[in-house]
Symmetry: C2
Subunit: 270 residues, 2 copies
């Protein structure tokens, strides 16, 4: 087993239907697990999003604004348990395929301050990796020192862990081919941006900010993702945003083959 760490995020939009609460796409999960075989015995962390399990409950109780009344405590209970339900389905399916996975619930590991991780307990996670285990984390509701609670996105977890644990590559599986010049679901003229670099990223962030509005995602959509990933890229870590719904994409990228995707390139290590 080599010592290179891969962090793979599977977006909530890939494994659930964000518009139908508590709907899980078992076939999508199964096929992605099959494509992950190249890292079964490698140092790997998997992070999944909330999709239709986390977001609707978090929105219902307005948890992204923090804890303001007693009724919202119910929202914390429901969001946390909904995410654990989704996580259980995913971890069980990985175990069926003989992956040495272990569920690691972020609300026990991270504390945020105004939505950003300010304290974490990474000892177990580190040791699990050394043991050959693959930790599986997820977007979660966590304690926030200023707001009471906050929604910690899978994207922020990926960004935090890849820097802290010095990941070698980060793969973000989404339901689009990568970053586009405009929203590809609305505009057929949208162009895939194959490379994000220090020269073009600020213009692209502006485009993303305007297209992210009105989406059912409490954690910021593609705009939020890119903001997180730029932090990672600045540490010289390879990043790929890929369409995890396209069969073969995950296994190809894990085997370093070229695919239609957005790659973060030419970011010198600070």
């Amino acid at each position: 087993m080599n010592n290179k760490l891969t962090i793979i995020k599977i977006g909530g939009s890939v494994i659930t239907d964000k518009h139908t609460p508590f709907s899980v796409d078992l076939n999508a999960i199964k096929s992605i697990i099959g494509e992950m075989k190249p890292v079964k015995e490698e140092k790997t962390i998997i992070v999944h999003g909330g999709g239709s399990f986390g977001h609707p409950v978090a929105i219902k109780y307005m948890l992204s604004n923090g804890l303001k009344n007693r009724e919202q405590v119910k929202g914390v209970v429901e969001t946390s348990q909904a995410m654990l339900s989704l996580n259980k389905i995913i971890v069980d399916m990985f175990i069926q395929e003989d992956f040495p996975v272990i569920s690691c619930s972020p609300h026990n590991i991270f504390i945020t301050r105004n939505g950003r991780i300010c304290k974490s307990f990474l000892y177990p996670l580190n040791y699990f990796l050394e043991m050959g285990l693959i930790p599986v984390l997820f977007g979660d509701v966590v304690y926030d020192t200023e707001r009471g609670v906050s929604i910690l996105s899978g994207d922020q977890i990926v960004s935090y862990l890849s820097i802290k644990l010095k990941a070698n590559r980060v793969i973000l599986g989404t339901d689009v081919d990568g970053i586009y010049s405009s929203d590809p679901k609305i505009n057929p003229e949208a162009q895939l941006i194959r490379e994000l670099n220090p020269e073009n990223y600020q213009d692209i962030l502006k485009i993303l900010k305007s297209t992210t509005k009105n989406r059912i995602d409490v954690t910021g959509g593609m705009y939020g993702k890119v903001r997180e990933l730029v932090r990672v890229a600045k540490h010289g870590i390879d990043i790929y945003i890929v369409n995890a719904r396209t069969p073969g994409n995950i296994s190809k990228i894990l085997n370093s083959s070229d695919i239609n995707c957005t790659r973060f390139k030419n970011w010198c290590k600070r």
Copy 2:
């Protein structure tokens, strides 16, 4: 809400049949949850045992001796996920009854050295309590700095947390009325010891050590429990070992009524 902390342990033998793997006693859980209403809005931590979910897998892979070969990693995966499955059933049932519970998996919170907790991350747990949430923990497989892994019993978690978080009372729900002068399941003459105190506990520990042998429990049975609880009693914390299978016992003890049980008395605070 008063600020007194109650820690309630529900033994694996109460909620599962230890002899039939993955068997859960839904009626027993439901009835215990019903009896816990007095602490629904109080500062409370719940810890449950592994019973037929945790012990058989831990035994199969001999995890209590630590990690000695690659095959055992599979045992870590299976034990951890089996315990999360049991925990999910229990937490879901608490939520149905409107308890503000949150699952807190010990393998993310504790690290042991030679089987004893040596490092922990209690910030989230503490904040959850302040928020009015009831954390639900369980016996689990955790990273051990000397052995690779160890089985952290629910009893040790109870003992550790009650001292660290300065609990006011600890209630251990088991499948017997308390501590007996010999094994009540074998010897009909066995006498219930209603009070454990600094004078009689060493003699009683000797008896328990001899009766604990050959039981299907990787965490030491009643002998292990009493050894843990003596540490707690020395901090002046009230302790009750009660039969959680007897209807009414849990609610009576939570309402400070007298029942047939073992109480730790007359331990001066060190």
